[in-house]
Amino acid sequence: MSGGADLNPPSGPSVHLPGKRGGQPPAWEVVIGMEVHVQPRTRTKMFCGCEVGQPGDLPNSNVCEICAGLPGTLPVINKAAVEACLKTAVALRCEIPRHTKFDRKNYMYPDLPKGYQISQYDLPMSHDGILELDGRKVRIRRVHLEEDTGKLVHAGDKLHMAKESFVDLNRAGIPLMEIVTEPDLRSADEARDYAVALRTLLRTIGASEAEMEKGQLRAEPNISIRRAGTEELGVKTELKNINSFRALHRAIQFEVARQVEVLESGGTVAQETRGWSEAEQRTFSQRSKEFAEDYRYFPEPDLPPLELDPKWIEVLRQALPEMPGARRSRLISEYGLPATDAHLIAAEVAFADLFEATVKAGAQPRATANWIVGEVAPSGKLPTPAVLSEIVKLVTGGSITRDQGREVLHESLSSNRTAAEIVAERGFAQDSDEASVKAIVEAVIAANPRAAEDYRAGKKQALGALIADVKKRAPQTNPKVASDLLMKALSTP
């Protein structure tokens, strides 16, 4: 194909990303495959009885002779981790074989206590699934189970400058699901959307809390570029050290631009692992993969092969909750929500559950969605459906103002009291009674002759000052009723 060369005039700008140049076809196509490591929700580690612990735990406080790899110790499979992995596989519509096994991946590193990692090689727990991303199908190559390594802490920050290095084995032996896609993603946006959708799915089915900041979800994109229209894959780089969805997006953007620059200046992309530096906002070379390391995989002799009972898989399949994509469609069709609200709410299973329970308790659906998107989500806290439905009903019914509703919401989140109690305590009952509001309106007009005159003379914005005075004199006055009555009073000469 000659398309690539035609699209790149020799003197033109060397970096142009797909989609950046309007109608012109892109010079380069970005190809991304994702490897995501997810910590399943378990109480204990993959092969021993140690608690999985928390990121801030004292170093080496969740360690026993097994996860420290002491001589003579043996692994025993954590059934809860297998179940979480199978649930994930089922939710990703993977094929699940009857037989699966664990293998040893052999390499030596000080954070790897046994000198091998127990992982899965040629018979993974599941393979060939699909995650739908806004109607596009991302093919899942495999979902398998393995154990995490420990962590090295270097005194003096950088490895080559470190005087001393310490090993923390708290994470050694923590279960990990490795979820690998085919190279089906075509942009940083898609890669990020995939990672977000995967997190939503994992939370929805309860397989993982999938919090990136806690290291429960680690995304490692494999990135290559090729001339648009060609089929052959370019040389890929793998990115590591990505700690947020935002970093994922930026790292991919940076890496794509870097590869374009390398290729367009006549160079070749080196097959390597690159780290993302959050501080410098760039990727840097970590490890060459030109000479693929030989991990000498072989079946883990300490663990008998697993026979997966199809009945168990069927039970897990039946117990699956509604998937986020299906739920989003239903939120639109069943409740008439705008697509953007439905998208945001369905993305968090907690929001979607709150929405439906609140509506069931009698609140109006669109207003409820509005409250969840506008108030609940930014607050980072979840009200009970009872509280939220009360607030939504009070606001839509005109008994309290939206500002008051927000106050009630925040108060209830910190005090656990019902909305009604808070409304009563604060005297928030909103006054919509025409007779009493009319009295206030008349008093306000009398007290602000200048503003009233301005309004009558055609300066419509003068109404604001008058409403403000109404609020000051009687905060519980329904602003809609007040403004209606003000306009009516001022239009009669």
Binding site: G72, L74, N106, G115, P301, L303
Partner: protein
């Protein structure tokens, strides 16, 4: 009364009848160790403090009438089994000074039954060897002839029992490492079915082949010790939850049983005439006891040795990766970087045979060679299992010599690893197929003990023990005492 050559069963009776105290029994054994171990060198280290605590506890329990089966019985433990607070080194310098923070399941069960641990026995480094000459510390000598090897790798455990330094001992068997030294030292040694005894706490050599088993002065003693160790362990995923029925029909005899004699074992290359003669006599005794000896064939025997010396090193290359000097054991502190530290620690810490096997195994698992070596060896392993399955359709148990030779002079095979590997030719089939096998003394050749091996189908320790016991009765073999 000299207690140092009595059987566990006899001592059990004396202890429970309170005619003998655990404390006295222990001190007699400690004295015996003092007297003979300077020459035998069965022990890497003794554990007098632990032993007196355990003996005192045993005496209390015996007095209170709630003593376990093994209360007060002096026990020696091979240096590959982790015991909390007791230096455990797998016969290797790389683990010098390592004191495990936990006790493995099999030994823990023996302790719970009241056994008194007198010491840690010598072995080939990481159980790799057939003569105990590969110990990272010193060779052990055969109590029958101190110029000869005791066999291996559980040579210390076998010679300790033969020399009267312990009543029973525990060893491990990956390719014959209990049965072969038992044969060479004139004691009973048994490798159970793979999965019968938990491997938790056993410093792994080859995980799919390793099993812990007893060494003793009689078949009954071996059965008692095995029964005390056996049974499912939640800490070992390869341990079985089958019933612990190893002593079923123990005294039932061999009348009407068919015992298979595999041509490939009977006529194995290099079998000594004296060994063959002892086996012929043993077969005659079994025939007299009512057994029918039938010909069977194990056609893939020749490939067994090759398959074994790929699978075992492959697994060991991975199992031994953890000895890197980072967390425990020897650590080279002068290295410039972490890779050099690994290399220097391992070069200093491991002996020649261990390094040889780590390299062989690493090679066999390498990309490009995996299919030709490891995978092919696993296929051979399947064929060998099938050979045994077919043979067991025609017989109840298989009998053969345990070792083609009697104990050989120290140093005679150390320059020829292949000759040393051939020591296991009659035993490693049982490991590849996961079968239970026992070696029972069957007379002498040139004044040195010969062992009769009985192999039974998986989970049929009862059959192996019953045949071995029947032979013991038929041959009127008394406890063979090494002329030390």
């Amino acid at each position: 009364m000299d207690t140092t050559h009595m059987t566990l069963a006899e001592l059990q009776r004396l202890l429970h009848a309170r005619e003998l105290s655990a404390k006295d029994l222990l001190s007699e054994h400690m004295m015996r160790i003092d007297n003979v171990d300077g020459e035998v060198k069965a022990f890497l280290r003794t554990t007098p403090q632990l032993a007196s605590q355990q003996a005192a506890e045993a005496d209390r329990a015996l007095k209170a009438g709630n003593a376990g089966q093994l209360a007060g019985i002096p026990l020696a433990v091979k240096d590959v089994l982790c015991v909390e607070g007791v230096e455990t080194t797998a016969g290797s310098q790389i683990l010098r000074g390592f004191k495990p923070p936990y006790t493995g399941t099999a030994v823990r069960r023996l302790f719970e039954a009241g056994a008194v641990m007198v010491g840690v026995t010598n072995c080939d480094e990481f159980a790799m060897g057939s003569s105990t000459e590969n110990s990272g510390y010193f060779p052990t000598h055969n109590p029958w002839d101190l110029t000869r090897v005791p066999g291996g790798s559980s040579g210390g455990s076998a010679s300790a029992v033969a020399a009267g330094e312990a009543v029973v001992s525990v060893g491990t068997d990956t390719g014959g490492s209990i049965r072969q030294p038992a044969a060479l030292c004139g004691v009973v040694g048994m490798k159970p079915t793979y999965g019968r005894v938990s491997r938790y706490g056993l410093i792994a050599f080859a995980s799919s082949l390793d099993q812990i088993g007893p060494l003793a002065r009689s078949v009954e003693d071996a059965a008692i010790l095995l029964e005390a160790m056996a049974g499912h362990d939640p800490l070992d995923a390869t341990s079985s939850d089958r019933p612990n029925d190893v002593r079923r029909d123990f005294e039932a005899g061999v009348k009407g049983m068919r015992l298979g004699l595999p041509r490939e074992y009977y006529e194995v290359d290099g079998i000594e005439p004296g060994v063959k003669a002892a086996i012929d006599k043993a077969l005659e005794a079994l025939r007299r006891a009512g057994a029918e000896i039938v010909d069977v064939t194990l056609p893939h025997t020749d490939y067994g040795l090759a398959a074994y010396y790929i699978i075992a090193p492959a697994e060991c290359s991975s199992n031994l990766a953890r000895f890197d000097g980072v967390r425990y054991g020897m650590s080279d502190q002068d290295a410039a970087n972490v890779t050099d530290a690994y290399m220097q620690t391992r070069r200093k810490g491991f002996g020649t045979e261990v390094r040889r096997r780590v390299m062989l195994g690493t090679y066999a698992l390498s990309s490009g060679y995996y299919d030709a070596y490891y995978l092919k060896a696993q296929k051979v392993r399947t064929l060998i299992k099938r050979d045994f399955d077919t043979a067991f359709e025609k017989c109840d148990a298989i009998v053969s010599a345990t070792s083609p030779t009697v104990a050989f002079p120290i140093g005679s095979k150390t320059q020829d690893p292949l000759a040393m590997y051939l020591c296991d030719v009659l035993t490693l089939g049982g490991n590849l197929a996961g079968l239970p096998g026992i070696s029972v003394p069957c007379g002498l050749s040139e004044g040195l003990p010969v062992g009769l091996q009985v192999l039974a189908p998986q989970w049929r320790e009862d059959v192996a023990l019953r045949v071995a016991r029947a032979y013991e009765v038929a041959s009127e073999m008394k406890v063979a005492v090494a002329p030390l």
